[in-house]
Amino acid sequence: MKPVPLHEQTVKDEKGRYQRFHGAFTGGFSAGYFNTVGTKEGWTPATFVSSRQQKAGRQNARPEDFMDEEDLGDHGIAPRQITTTADFASGRKDVIRDKARAITSLSAPIPGDTVLEDLVAPARSSMGVELLRKMGWKDGQGVGPRVKRRLCKQRADSATRAFGSASPPNGSSESQDEEDGEFLPENLTFAPKDVTPIDFTPKVDLHGLGYRGLNPLAALRGGPGAGHINLFTMDSDRTNSLFGEDRKGQRRRGGVAGQGFGVGAMEDDDEDIYHRDIMSNYDTVLGGEEPGDGLYGWTAPQQYNRTKKDAAYLGKILEGFTLASDKLETKTIFPPPNLPRDFRPVHYFRPVVDLSSVSPMVAQALQTSRGHMAQEAPSKGGRHQLDSAQRRELLGEATLQGITESLLNPSRFAPHAEQQQQEALSVWSGPTAQAQTGQTFKPFERTPHKQARYDLYIDQLKQGDRDALELSLDPTMTEWERGRERDEFVRAALLYKPSSSSLSCRFTRGKQDDGVEADTVEVTRDQENDVDDKQAAVKMKMFGKLTRDTFEWHPDNLLCKRFNIPDPYPGSGFVGMPKVKRDKFSVFNFLTVSESPTASASPAPQGNKQSPSEPGKRSRWDVSGQAGDKERKEKDPVSEFLSVARIEASGSGPEASTTDGPTTDPTVEVLVPHYYIHH
C-alpha cells in the first residue's frame, strides 16, 4: 500500500465536511511512518503464531523493550550507567558500612564484638585478590619479591611505641634475630611487608592534634579502664588511621565480662559481681617485662647538657622543650605614625560660597556633602571604635541609602522616643529627602487635618528643625491625643522614609488607591428619568418629553476632527458622559424621598421601592439624582396623570414590563385597568 501523505490523511463526515477533532490527533501517532506498517518503509509488527502443532513461544518482554532513549538516559526511570557489580567491587573500606557495623556492635549481645557478622560475612573479594591468592599471596603480606631479612615487628604494640621514635637500634633487633635465628634457617625469605595505604585526608576538624574523642567502649565498660578517659593519647588517631585499624590487640577487647571470668555460686566474695574486667589488664604474651625503662634507648633532648642557661627560663620551659640555639629573626614592626588630633584623611576644597549668605538648606547640603564632615566628632572612642557610618564619613564615601544606623547600634533595640525623633530628623533632613518632590506617601489621607499637620511636620523635618514634632501638633487637642499623634508621626516618618533616588525611579505610585476608595463607584452624573413613567408614556403613545432624555455628552476631540465639526467642549478633559463618584452601598440608596403630590403618594413609593433590576453602571437609586430628576419633572398635572396611568398600566398583567415592583398597594389593585380593556 502506498504511504498516504499527511495532507491526504483527513477524515470527512457524511456530508463531505472535514471532521473536527478539536485538538486530538494533531500530534500524529501513526503506526510506523505515515501508515507504513508492514511495508519496507515501516516496521513489521511482531507476529504471534500459535497453532495446535506449534505453540507460541513465550514472549518475554522486558520493561526495557518499551523504554525509549529518554527513559534510559540519565534522568529516566531506568538509567544505564556503568556500575561495579559486587564481583568487581573494590576492597576499600566502606565508611558507612563500617559505621553501621560499629553502631550495631554496641547493641549486640556481646558488645563490641561482631562475631556473628564475621561469621556470616559474604565472601567478597576482587578478582585481583583472587589471582594473588592463587599465586601464593596471603592476607596481610606485601606484594613483591621476597626479602631475606626478617623485618622488625610490624604489629608492635602501638601503645608502647613512642611517637616519632627512630627505629630501635640495631642492637635490639639483632638480639631478636639471634633469638629467633635458632629456629629459622638462613636462607629463609619472607614476603615483604605490606604497604599500608596512607590516608591523605586532611585534617578538617578543629580538634587538637591527637584528639580522638570518647571511645564508647571504654566509657561504658566501666572498670579500671573507665576511670580516666584519656582523649589525647600519645599516638594521634591520624597515625592510627594511617596504619590501619586492624590491630590484633583490639579485637578481643570487649569479650569478657565479670571479674576473673565470672564468680561462682559458692564464692563468698561476690561484692563486685558486676565488675567488668578488661583483657588489657592481662598479658597476652608470656615473658618478662620490657627490658630497660621501656624507652628503648630513647633519650630526651639535651636539656641537661646545656650550660648556658638562663635562669629566668628555668621554670618556664615546657617539659620536653629546650632553649633554642639560634635566635629567630625578629620582625621589625614599624608603628603607625601618630596622627594629629584633628587630622582628616580627606582633602576638601574650600567652598566658594559664603555660608552665611545662602539659605540654610544649601548651607547644610554643602556641609554634609563630601568632604565636609558632620558637626560632631566621629571618633568618640578613638580610631578603632568607629562604626561603619563613621568610617564612611572619614573616608568620604557616598552614604548608603537605607538603614542609616548599624544593626549593632544598641539604640535600635531600645527605641527611645528622642532617638526616634532624632532618627526621623536625620532621615528627613538629609539631601535625599530634599530631592523628594511630590511622591511622598500620605499616611493620613483620610483625615485631612491630620495629614496637614503631618505635612507640616515633614516640612519642618526637612528643614532640620528639631522641634518639628512639637510645632506641628495641634495645641487644641488633648494631651493624650497629642501624645498619640506624636508617636504616630514619628513612626510614620520613620516608616515612610524618602526612598533613594536610584531606587525610587523603579517605583511609582499606583493609579488606583484600592484601600481608600473601594466603596465608591463612578456613575454618570445625569441619570435617566424613571422608567415606569416612560413605559406608561409609550403605552399611551405619548412620545416626546416623557420618553426623551437629553444628556450632556462629550465627543472625543479626534472624533470631532474626523467628522469635521468643531469640538463642542473644547476644554473638556473627559470623554463621554460626565461621571461622578457615588458610594457603592449606602443606606441612602434605599431610602425613598417622596416629593410627588399627595394624590399619588401611594403609587410613588411603589415605584421607588423597586429592587435594582439593572445592576451595573448606573445607580439609579441615588437620592440626589432622583431629587434632581424630580425637579426636572413636568408640571404636576402631567405627572399626576402619569402616575394614575402607571397604576393602570402596572395593574394590567401581561403588558406590564418586567421591572415592575412586586408590591402593589392593595388599594390600588381595586382600580379597574382601563387601559387593558381598551387594548
Binding site: 412620545f543 426623551r548 444628556f551 472625543d556
Partner: protein, 325 residues
C-alpha cells in the same frame, strides 16, 4: 407618490445551493460609483459563509469576493468613493477592505461580542460599529492605531443597529432605547421605545428617525422633540432583527416582516400601501436605492432587486443568488 406593481424578473443562474438556515445575508446599496462604468450600481452582500461579495446590480454578476472574517459577516458598508469597504462579523472584528485589491487594510479588534452593525461616516474617516456587548466603537481609518477613538457604552444591552449622518450618530439598542449622539452640540438624546429595537434610520431630510422594534411596530419619531409622528403596524416582527427603511424621497416606510413579505406604508397617512410577497421565509434585510426607485431585499440566500414598473416599459430586475461555496 409611487404607484405601480413591482415585478421581479428572475435572472437565471445555473447553480443554486441550498443553505443551512442561519443568518441570511444583509445588504447595502452604494450610490453609483465614479470609477466604475456608468451603468454600475453595485451591491454588497455579506453572508454566513464568512465572505463579503460585491455584485453588479445591472448585470447580476459577482465582481469580487472578500474573505477574511472568521465567522459570518453581519453587516457591511462602502465608503463614499467606493475605494474602501468595512464589514463586521460575529468574530468580533471590524475589517476595513481595499476594494480593488481585496486585501484587508485593517482588522479592528476590541469588541467583546459579535458586531451587529457597521457604517462609514460621511467622509469615510471613521468607522462606527455597534456590537452585542453594548458598545459603539468609533475607529479611525486615517491613523494606524488599533484602538478606537471613542467608545460609547451608554447602552445597557446590545446595540443592534446604527446610522451615521454628518454630525450625528443614531444607535438602536436591545434595551429599548434609541440614542442619538449629536457631535456638534455635544448632546445625547435618548428616546425610550420600551421594546428591543431592531433597526434605526434617518430620514432623508434629517428631521425624523425611523425605528422598528420587536413589538411589530415601526415608529417615526421627530428628531428634535422625540415625538412620534407616525406608527406603522401590520407586519410581523417578533423575534428577528429585520430591517426597515424609508424610500428615497421619504414618501414611504418600508419594513421587512417575518411572514415573508415586505410591507410598504405611506409615510404621511400610515396606511399600508403594498405587501410585497418576497418568499416563504423571513425577509431579513432591505435597502432602498438612494436615488432611484429600487429596492433590494434579501431573504435566505437570495437577493432580489425590485424596481418600479412604470407604465411604459418594464425594467429588468435582477435576482442575484448568493453563492455558497
Amino acid at each position: 407618490r409611487v404607484s405601480g406593481v413591482f415585478h421581479p424578473l428572475i435572472f437565471s443562474r445555473p447553480t443554486s445551493f441550498s443553505l443551512p438556515v442561519s443568518f441570511s445575508p444583509t445588504l447595502s446599496l452604494s450610490p453609483p460609483p465614479l470609477s466604475f462604468s456608468a451603468d454600475g450600481n453595485y451591491l454588497l452582500s455579506c453572508g454566513s459563509d464568512k465572505s463579503l461579495k460585491l455584485w453588479s446590480v445591472s448585470r447580476g454578476t459577482l465582481l469580487k469576493t472578500y474573505s477574511g472574517h472568521g465567522y459570518e459577516v453581519l453587516d457591511a458598508d462602502g465608503s463614499y468613493d467606493n475605494s474602501q469597504l468595512c464589514s463586521c462579523s460575529s468574530d468580533k472584528t471590524v475589517i476595513l477592505w481595499d476594494v480593488a485589491t481585496g486585501q484587508v487594510t485593517r482588522k479592528l479588534r476590541g469588541h467583546a461580542g459579535k458586531v451587529n452593525c457597521v457604517q462609514f461616516n460621511e467622509e469615510a474617516t471613521v468607522i462606527l460599529s455597534g456590537s452585542i456587548d453594548g458598545t459603539v466603537r468609533c475607529w479611525d481609518t486615517r491613523s494606524r492605531k488599533f484602538d478606537p477613538i471613542q467608545i460609547l457604552d451608554e447602552a445597557q444591552d446590545g446595540v443592534s443597529s446604527l446610522k451615521v449622518s454628518e454630525h450625528e450618530l443614531l444607535t438602536g439598542s436591545v434595551d429599548g432605547r434609541v440614542r442619538r449622539y449629536d457631535l456638534r452640540m455635544g448632546q445625547l438624546h435618548v428616546d425610550f421605545i420600551n421594546s428591543p429595537i431592531t433597526c434605526v434610520c434617518f430620514s432623508a431630510d434629517g428631521q425624523c428617525t425611523l425605528t422598528s422594534s420587536l413589538d411589530s411596530t415601526v415608529r417615526l419619531l421627530d428628531k428634535s422633540t422625540g415625538e412620534m409622528l407616525g406608527e406603522y403596524t401590520g407586519h410581523k416582527m417578533k423575534g428577528y432583527k429585520l430591517d426597515c427603511c424609508l424610500s428615497s424621497k421619504d414618501t414611504h416606510v418600508l419594513s421587512c416582516s417575518e411572514d415573508g413579505h415586505v410591507y410598504c406604508w405611506d409615510l404621511v397617512e400610515g396606511s399600508l400601501m403594498l405587501k410585497l410577497p418576497v418568499g416563504k421565509a423571513v425577509v431579513q434585510s432591505l435597502s432602498f436605492h438612494p436615488s432611484e426607485t429600487r429596492l433590494l431585499t434579501a431573504m435566505e440566500g437570495r437577493v432580489q432587486v425590485w424596481g418600479a414598473e412604470p407604465e411604459e416599459t418594464e425594467e429588468d430586475v435582477v435576482v442575484v443568488q448568493q453563492e455558497k461555496a
